[in-house]
């Protein structure tokens, strides 16, 4: 596969995952704001921005409507949902011959939808529906990606982008939340605290899945355990990193070139860390630092993907 094409597929996928994450976190924040609680609106908005990685140029000015609008529609703000969808489509447009027509049409529809007057109307009249429509659009894209595309190298780059972006976003989210989460008064659940915990789980669409594993008994350590170490839940860090690793292995198998040792080692190390650590060990140490190191390892994996597959030098390629 052409390096440029792999690059576009990878970023198309990352941008869509990023816009989904933004929409979901915004949705949770808006719904938590409906309940009066000890957490102020300002704290919530600041925390939302932090969980999105404090995108440059985005600040809390005291106007929730303005921030919401910027986060969704601002074409100049590179982290806005509109920008992410534009970029996803722009990448898709450059690999039209590589993706299926269904995939292209899905991402294209999403692009046209978010800039349509109907979307504006829906945004004003029914925010929940508006956000749900965007997420539906992204889910549909993922669905047709899995069902209409050959599960070859291109698909693996899409998957790689999706899971790496998701792992990074989840680690960021947890790093932001862990402090207030773990400092909750033990076993003393007021209704508000319960809502907070549900909110965090819903940021990762994981409330129902959590209940299946742990029942509706919400405790901070179990939530952390679930979102970091669960093997089977698609938004858990371990699951995402497993996905990254599987995709890297699959990409390596499609080609005949020398194995990218450093890349495989970095991904393998991160995988092992999540595979063999227990929640107790994490809590005994520094959960914040632990999560931060996951983010850094994700960045390292990204750099190595570039070095091995996308921006390699001609000399090194001819030497093989």
């Amino acid at each position: 596969m052409l390096s440029r094409v792999a690059d576009s597929l990878y970023w198309m996928s990352r941008y869509l995952e990023r816009s989904e994450n933004t929409v979901r976190q915004l949705d949770v924040t808006l719904s938590l704001l409906l309940d009066t609680s000890s957490t102020t609106a300002e704290t919530r908005w600041l925390r939302l921005l932090a969980a999105l990685g404090n995108p440059p140029g985005l600040t809390w000015t005291g106007d929730p409507d303005e921030l919401t609008r910027t986060l969704i529609f601002d074409p100049v703000q590179p982290s806005s949902v509109t920008s992410c969808i534009n970029l996803a489509r722009e990448n898709a447009r450059q690999v039209r011959e590589e993706i299926s027509s269904e995939q292209w049409q899905r991402v294209n529809r999403l692009y046209h939808h978010i800039r349509s007057p109907q979307a504006q109307n829906q945004f004003r009249s029914n925010m929940n529906d508006f956000l749900a429509t965007i997420i539906d659009g992204i889910h549909l894209f993922k669905g047709v990606s899995d069902t209409t595309m050959i599960h070859g190298e291109g698909w693996q780059f899409i998957r790689l982008g999706r899971y790496l972006e998701r792992a990074y976003a989840t680690a960021t989210l947890l790093e932001v939340y862990q402090e207030s989460l773990l400092n909750l008064p033990e076993r003393e659940h007021s209704g508000y605290q319960y809502l907070e915990l549900v909110g965090l789980l819903r940021c990762c669409t994981s409330f129902e899945a959590y209940c299946q594993v742990y029942t509706a008994d919400l405790t901070p350590d179990r939530i952390l355990e679930f979102l970091v170490l669960n093997r089977d839940f698609p938004h858990a860090l371990r699951y995402s990193i497993d996905g990254v690793r599987q995709s890297l292995d699959a990409i390596q198998r499609t080609g005949g070139r020398r194995p990218p040792e450093e890349l495989l080692a970095t991904a393998g190390r991160l995988h092992s860390m999540l595979r063999y650590t227990t929640i107790e060990e994490i809590l005994d140490g520094s959960p914040g630092r632990f999560l931060h190191s996951i983010r850094e390892q994700c960045l390292r994996i990204h750099e190595l993907i570039y070095r091995y597959y996308i921006h390699y030098s001609i000399q090194s390629a001819l030497a093989v």
Binding site: M1, L2, R93, R96, E97, S101, G255, A317, L318
Partner: protein, 516 residues
């Protein structure tokens, strides 16, 4: 009912249905045709006395029989289909590039089997001769030695590529992919207006128009018995494969695009996908030891055939324009070394030059010893004394074009010109007659087009697509371009032109009447 006998609008055949339906249809047709005015131009649908030509009859009856607003509904659903498929072109100059769907008309243009037969033979003959011409010019130059074509006309052409001299191109094929523009004159005769021998575009619109039309008028399409065109990408792939360098039995074929900002980018992606080949940009290619490679995730991979959609000038900064980043440095040398096939070959623009065009009938005669099946538009070469005198005497009736210009520049349209302009051109022609040609003002054919709920005639041309590998292959049909502005003769998409599907019929066009 005999197919040869056109039906008058006022006297449509009654069908085996209730009289009221028939009456309604008459009414509908007259409202449909509100101001369908005939003039001197050939009308594809109606004869000079207003009757509908036999092969258009079923189409018109079907349209007239659709419930009110149904046409509008189908038009909208077709629009949506183009938009979601991303069959758009970019309008530049606005923020983040506004995308528009390529304007198209819902009514197909119909061509009967015998008309097509003539077009196919004519184009095959023409392209074969032009390919002989290119091979001769870049090798023995027999046609120059025999003084059929003046040498200076060839050497002064800006598309003539000295670098191509003495180079054996694979299978002797210079022009593998061609799109020629045809017009239909007042008499109904098809003539060639120009040949596009460099990087002709538009074939994707031909293919997607067909796909949308099949969905929009499925029954009508079926009942007409239309020849298929859908295999074009496969034919193109076979053509490219047949031109691969010797000793490369499983050639790696790629399509080279200037990139996403090119107005034909949609077409490049479409063709690459339909053929299952990689779409590459110049930055994906590297050359080493006269071999072209592409950068893949699995390292460098050798490239054998390049279907080039980048102009000569931008293809290789070492040989052509040094400021171009669209091509690949070293490509031409790899091509010369025979390690990669690039098609169309470089320097083919020589044969579609405006002045060379006038010589095409002589080129056909010289190489094939045949008379042209499809004529040129009558063209006066101003280097010839008699022609020049005729043109200078009739400047107010003719169109004069500078050979080096395009896009309407350097042109005198006689009937619309002032005496001052004519004098300027007279002086310019007398000073440098080789730089100009003259043609009569063209009055080409019109076809019915849909505007809201009624039908009006608009001028159309036809661009069939010709493939030349082992042999010449032409899919039946092509892109019919429409001048959507009333009275306009300009069919270019940049200037208010659109397109319509082109149905080449299996028969002479006696389609069964069929309600949709």
């Amino acid at each position: 009912m005999s197919a040869q006998e056109p039906v008058s609008l006022d006297n449509l055949p009654s069908r085996n249905q209730a009289d009221s339906t028939s009456a309604r249809m008459e009414r509908d047709l007259s409202s449909l045709f509100g101001d369908y005015l005939l003039d001197d131009a050939y009308d594809e649908m109606r004869t000079q006395d207003g009757a509908i030509r036999p092969h258009y009859r079923a189409l018109m009856e079907t349209i007239a029989n659709l419930p009110p607003d149904e046409l509008l509904r189908r038009k909208q659903s077709a629009d949506l289909s183009f938009l979601t498929q991303g069959i758009t072109f970019t309008v530049y100059g606005r923020e983040e590039g506004t995308e528009r769907i390529f304007p198209y008309d819902l009514l197909p243009r119909l061509i009967s089997a015998d008309e097509w037969d003539r077009i196919e033979h004519g184009l095959t003959q023409r392209i074969t001769a032009l390919n002989h011409f290119l091979r001769d010019i870049y090798s023995e130059e027999k046609i120059l030695r025999d003084r059929i074509i003046p040498r200076d006309l060839v050497y002064s052409c800006k598309h003539y590529r000295r670098q191509m001299r003495g180079l054996d191109v694979p299978r002797g094929v210079y022009i593998a992919v061609v799109g020629s523009d045809l017009l239909r004159l007042r008499t109904g005769e098809y003539v060639v207006l120009e040949d596009n021998l460099r990087v002709p575009s538009g074939v994707s619109y031909m293919l997607t128009n067909r796909r949308v039309m099949k969905r929009t008028f499925p029954k009508l399409f079926h009942s007409y018995g239309v020849k298929p065109i859908e295999h074009y990408p496969q034919l193109l792939l076979n053509t490219l494969r047949s031109l691969a360098p010797e000793g490369r039995p499983e050639p790696n074929i790629v399509l080279l695009t200037p990139g996403v900002y090119n107005s034909a980018y949609f077409e490049h992606t479409y063709l690459a996908r339909q053929m299952g080949i990689d779409l590459v940009e110049g930055r994906d290619l590297v050359t080493h030891d006269n071999i072209v490679y592409m950068r893949t995730t699995d390292g460098l991979k050798r490239v054998d055939v390049i279907y080039r959609r980048v102009d000569d000038d931008f293809s290789d900064p070492l040989i052509f324009r040094a400021d171009s980043t669209l091509g690949c440095a070293g490509l031409f040398n790899a091509y010369r070394a025979g390690n990669v096939t690039v098609t169309n070959a470089f320097g083919t623009g020589l044969a579609d030059d405006k002045a060379m065009y006038a010589y095409v009938p002589r080129i056909i005669k010289y190489y094939l010893d045949e008379d042209p099946i499809l004529n040129n538009v009558e063209t006066y070469l101003l280097t010839e004394d008699a022609s020049r005198q005729h043109v200078l005497d009739n400047l107010d009736k003719l169109v004069v074009k500078a050979v080096g210009e395009s896009g309407g520049y350097g042109m005198l349209i006689g009937p619309q010109s002032t005496a001052k302009q004519r004098e300027e051109f007279r002086a310019a022609i007398e000073a440098n007659p080789r730089n100009y040609i003259a043609q009569p003002t063209l009055d080409f054919s019109r076809a019915p087009c849909l505007f809201g709920n009624h039908i009006e005639p608009r001028h159309v041309d036809l661009r069939p697509y010709i493939l030349f590998g082992d042999k010449v292959n032409i899919v039946p049909g092509g892109l019919t371009r429409v001048a959507l502005e009333k009275g306009s003769l300009v069919v270019n998409s940049s200037q208010g032109g659109g397109s319509k599907d082109t149905w080449v019929l299996e028969s002479q066009g006696e389609a069964v009447q069929f309600s949709e």
